[in-house]
Amino acid sequence: MSARDRLRPPVAATAGTLLPGFADPVLDAQSAFRAVLEAMARPGRVQRLPRPPAPPAPILPAAGAVLLALVDSATPVLTDAGAEAEAWLRFHAGCPLADGPAEADFLLATGTPPPLAALRAGTDEDPQLSATLILQVQALEEGSGWRLTGPGIEREHRLRVAGAPPGFIAERTANAALFPRGVDVILCAGDRVAALPRTTRIEEG
């Protein structure tokens, strides 16, 4: 096959490629990774992204930072954020776009996410092959709200999540029963993140 047969429609047609990613791709990605690591290690504790990018709407700065830090050409992403956001992600992270929830390593939900049961949960042998859901919400506050327990939490952490999708806790509880399989969730609001790894138990506060 000659190179000429490989012509594909470009993704550059939208404004998504016109917005920069991280100001400093190395250091900013490292600090975003560190924030996600802290969030995952201390479920329900809210971390602030020190230097998030300014992604195209409707991607929030925190979600943009998490994606640019975590995804690459080997991790298909599915998002409901629209063409401009997809072009921005592909341009800066180099990630392929997944055809459906079952093919995605990462999902970015700016609205109602697909059912957790439709996402990859990994296998008992390879539980790390599960999907990570990046869920944009309106606000994240520590100290009240959901009651979180499990690994990484000494007694309990309280997390108030404004704008979580209806029925999320029930779905999440069903998903947690699959352990060691299951979906990890990263909640994003503004420039803040909190994580709900699959090991965390959530009760309505």
């Binding site: 012509l7 550059a12 490629t17 016109l18 917005l19 920069p20 990613g21 791709p25 341009f91 800066h92």
Partner: protein, 149 residues
């Protein structure tokens, strides 16, 4: 003057990629000044996985990686330029990206082609030609030997 075709753009991108900063910088001295730009991505160094084909024409396989530098810039008029260069050459990638953006402008193209791209293309063709001529000198002429008798 019209918008550049994909074929034209492929052409100058290939020439600029081969030239790198070492080739481009001296050519810029006699060229119209480059427009101001802002960086969209990079310049940054990464890898591309090289592929071969089993038997030369069969199924693809991964041969090994190579270092690549890429850059994307935007001019004030909104034109976006891209560059991907073999090797680690941040300056070359940024220059090639700015030139790619500027060359898309029908007003700027003829001057930049004349001062930068065309001479670099000629240099590269000459280097290829020199290598082909050395190879030709090592070609075995069995018939020549037979005729010497």
């Amino acid at each position: 003057m019209s918008e550049a075709t994909t074929e034209q753009r492929r052409g100058w991108m290939g020439v600029l990629a081969r030239a790198g900063a070492k080739g481009i910088l001296p050519r810029l001295e006699g060229a119209p000044p480059l427009p101001p730009h802002s960086r969209l991505r990079g310049p940054e160094i990464g890898l591309t996985m090289l592929r071969g084909r089993a038997g030369g024409d069969g199924a693809p396989f991964n041969l090994g990686e190579m270092t690549v530098t890429r850059c994307a810039v935007r001019l004030e008029d909104g034109r976006v330029g891209h560059a991907y260069l073999a090797g680690r050459d941040m300056r070359g990638a940024e220059l090639a990206a700015v030139l790619d953006a500027a060359l898309q402008d029908p007003e700027r193209r003829p001057g930049l082609m004349r001062a930068v791209v065309d001479p670099l293309a000629a240099e590269q063709a000459a280097a290829r030609e020199a290598s082909a001529r050395k190879a030709a000198a090592t070609r075995v002429r069995f018939l020549t030997m037979a005729n010497m008798r």
